[in-house]
């Protein structure tokens, strides 16, 4: 396992503990400016990064631009230069276009955190998923993790393919053929189009959100047919290990990709815990990435 991942997850543990105290403030990012530049709508990830920054004492500013203000004429690189001129100490970026975050990162002088770019990557989500699994299962290595649903459009799936494989898990991609990207096996994962086969013997089942506009005939015929073939129900979950852990990056479509009885099963569902781990992981990222400039100050 790459030591950097283990180190980051270890660091995040302290923030889980800190987050459970009444007084959660740490203050090590005191005086630093954190810009959350979200060019694509987000509620939970933006909130998570904002809370993470504030708990560490940073001055957090949110730019929830949507793609619309960019379409007024300013190019993305001009926006990047504008942000950079505000002299931030860390920028968190989400953008609807794959590769856009890396493009901006080339143009600014501070650390950039990718909060999701197109279908490409969502690294902090994968990290929080790994932390959740590690805390619940005691390890990631050797576990069978089935990632199920709209793999084609999912940055969460791609980041988890990289991370969980690096941590030694056996990763499966489970999706209907229309939502499975070509050559997915090159990520080192095994592809299943049959949900029951994909779930067999799994230690962890990670469900992905299916975008509503993709459900009505474009990629799958209907939500009810999708639920029949790929929805996670109690009956279907019997194929997995008895102590299977159920995860979902949210927001959930209950009755589409996941049955409420499964989502709300406190024995097996880690969905709320994932949100909590998200704040801790993001605090660890913000802390670690700003250390060089804090040390230099």
């Amino acid at each position: 396992m790459p030591w950097e991942i283990g180190y980051l997850l270890d660091e995040a543990e302290q923030w889980v503990d800190a987050g459970r105290r009444t007084r959660k403030h740490d203050g090590r990012l005191e005086g630093l400016t954190q810009i959350n530049a979200f060019f694509e709508n987000s509620t939970r990830t933006l909130l998570s990064f904002e809370i993470a920054g504030k708990r560490l004492g940073a001055d957090v500013v949110n730019l929830a631009a949507g793609a619309s203000s960019l379409k007024k004429g300013e190019t993305l690189l001009d926006t990047a230069l504008t942000l950079n001129a505000m002299r931030p100490d860390v920028i968190v970026i989400r953008h609807e276009s794959s590769g856009a975050v890396a493009l901006i990162a080339e143009k600014v002088d501070c650390p950039v955190l990718n909060a999701g770019d197109g279908r490409h990557e969502h690294p902090t989500q994968a990290l929080l998923d790994a932390l959740t699994i590690r805390r619940r299962k005691g390890r990631v290595e050797g576990l069978t993790v089935a990632i199920c649903g709209d793999i084609l459009h999912s940055r969460v799936a791609r980041s988890n393919f990289h991370l969980l494989a690096a941590l030694g898990a056996e990763v499966r991609a489970v999706a209907p053929p229309t939502l499975m990207p070509p050559h997915v096996e090159r990520f080192g994962v095994t592809a299943f189009t049959d949900m029951d086969e994909g779930l067999a013997g799994a230690d962890v089942v990670m469900m992905l959100r299916l975008q509503l506009e993709r459900m009505e005939g474009a990629y799958v015929p209907s939500t009810r047919e999708y639920f029949r073939s790929h929805g996670l129900t109690r009956a279907r979950l019997k194929a997995a290990k008895p102590d299977v852990l159920v995860m979902h990056p949210g927001p959930m479509n209950r009755g589409v990709e996941i049955d409420s009885a499964v989502a709300d099963d406190i024995q097996r569902s880690a969905i709320a815990e994932q949100v909590e781990m998200g704040v801790a992981v993001r605090m660890a990222c913000l802390d670690i990435l700003t250390r060089p400039r804090r040390d230099a100050a």
């Binding site: 190019t75 993305l76 690189l77 953008h95 276009s97 794959s98 590769g99 856009a100 890396a102 493009l103 770019d117 197109g118 279908r119 490409h120 990557e121 940055r155 791609r158 990207p181 070509p182 050559h183 997915v184 090159r186 990520f187």
Partner: protein, 410 residues
């Protein structure tokens, strides 16, 4: 105009299939004589050309912009201009205007838009545009989706003896896509279309062209299956030709790494097996015409996230050098390369100036096939330097270019 005598050049004449050392005399805007030890007229400029190659000026059979500087730097004397202009070349007056745009340094041969405003529905005035100077009819950047419209276009064009130049990508399969399906598109999270999008369109258009008895040319073939379909149709005797661009023989999907928007092309870069098949297609003559698909884009169009960047690459200034790379690789012989860059498009589209026969117009290129240089996007001649080959060492330097006996570059 002073006569020019080239001495001891390697004279490659792809039209006549000859390749020999000799002299060539230009006078009165035409090739006056070729042979050994020609006598120099008293007022002639003598160009000592031993070790250098003299051939017809290149004909670039697909460009999207009239970019005289890029063409001249690339040794090109004629370009076939795609109808995707602003406004599209769908009217005789626009065709006439487009033809004049390159004067006096470049022959611009306009291609008539197949349909009005390139809308893919109503036929444009092909006959009138032909009279105005259009050398063929083209569907432009996109294929005609409606098979009935395509069939009528092919029938109508056949009646005018116009070759139809078709874009070989099924528009339904490529809608929304910014890359070709493959490992890289999946890794980078880019919306992608399958390589089959090309085969689907080629198969349909081949069948419709047979139905219509029309002459068909695929502007750019980039997949293994596409090459195979064209090869098969040619073997069966169908009147079909196809072109490709250097990028499809030299690059594959790996060029997309790091979201390099200069590698966003249309058709997209493919998987390695497709690249190898394109090279095979060039070798065996299935892909008989090599084109630049010159499409200069400014920084504003390209310095964008990959999916938002405009597709296309500048190609005129690097066409010869990249073609010579294929010669060095053993894909093409030097005469075969020069045929793909002059005689083949001239024959297909009925253009003058692709031979060294006495009496032919003096559109001539003198170059040093071994002179090395490095492609540099920042200093590339022309409107813009958006080349996916930035930094590549190549050989082949244009030493002199003549159009109608007039020296454009020396």
């Amino acid at each position: 105009m002073k006569p020019v005598l080239f001495r001891n050049a390697r004279l490659v004449d792809p039209w006549n299939g000859t390749d020999r050392i000799g002299d060539l005399l230009v006078a009165e805007r035409i090739i006056a004589a070729t042979g050994a030890g020609l006598a120099a007229p008293a007022d002639a400029e003598i160009v000592e050309a031993s070790g250098k190659l003299l051939c017809p000026g290149l004909i670039d059979a697909t460009v999207f912009r009239t970019d005289v500087e890029a063409a001249v730097a690339g040794g090109i004397t004629s370009v076939l201009l795609m109808p995707d202009q602003s406004p599209p070349l769908d009217d005789p007056a626009l065709v006439e205007r487009a033809e004049r745009l390159g004067k006096p340094r470049l022959w611009v041969r306009p291609l008539a838009a197949a349909t009005r405003n390139l809308n893919g529905r109503e036929l444009a005035e092909l006959g009138l545009m032909q009279e105005a100077g259009a050398v063929a009819v083209a569907t432009g950047r996109a294929a005609i989706a409606d098979a009935k419209v395509m069939l009528r276009l092919l029938r109508y064009a056949a009646g005018l003896d116009l070759v139809v130049i078709a874009h070989a990508e099924c528009p339904f399969l490529t809608a929304g896509a910014v890359a070709g399906e493959g490992e890289y598109a999946t890794r980078l999270g880019l919306a992608a279309a399958p390589a089959a999008a090309e085969a689907v369109q080629i198969a349909r258009d081949l069948r419709l062209a047979r139905e219509a008895g029309a002459a068909l040319h695929f502007a750019c073939v980039s997949t293994a299956e596409g090459v195979a379909l064209v090869r098969e149709a040619r073997a069966a005797g169908q009147d079909v030709t196809a072109g490709t661009a250097p990028a499809y023989a030299l690059l594959n999907e790996t060029a997309l790494a790091g979201y390099r928007s200069f590698a966003r092309l249309s058709p997209p870069l493919r998987e390695e097996a497709d690249r190898l098949a394109v090279r095979k297609g060039l070798s065996d003559g299935t892909l008989s015409i090599l084109v630049s698909r010159h499409d200069p884009r400014t920084q504003d169009d390209k310095r964008q996230p990959f999916a938002d960047a405009a597709p296309g690459a500048a190609g005129s200034a690097t066409l010869l050098a990249l073609g010579l790379t294929l010669v060095h690789d053993g894909v093409l012989t030097l005469p075969a390369l020069l045929a793909a860059l002059s005689a083949a498009p001239a024959r297909r589209f009925g253009l003058p100036g692709a031979s060294l026969s006495p009496g032919a117009p003096a559109d001539l290129l003198l170059f040093d096939p071994d002179a090395p240089w490095r492609i540099d996007a920042d200093t590339l001649a022309g409107i813009a330097g958006n080349t996916p080959f930035d930094g590549l060492p190549v050989t082949g330097k244009v030493l002199r270019l003549l159009k109608g006996g007039e020296t454009l570059l020396a």
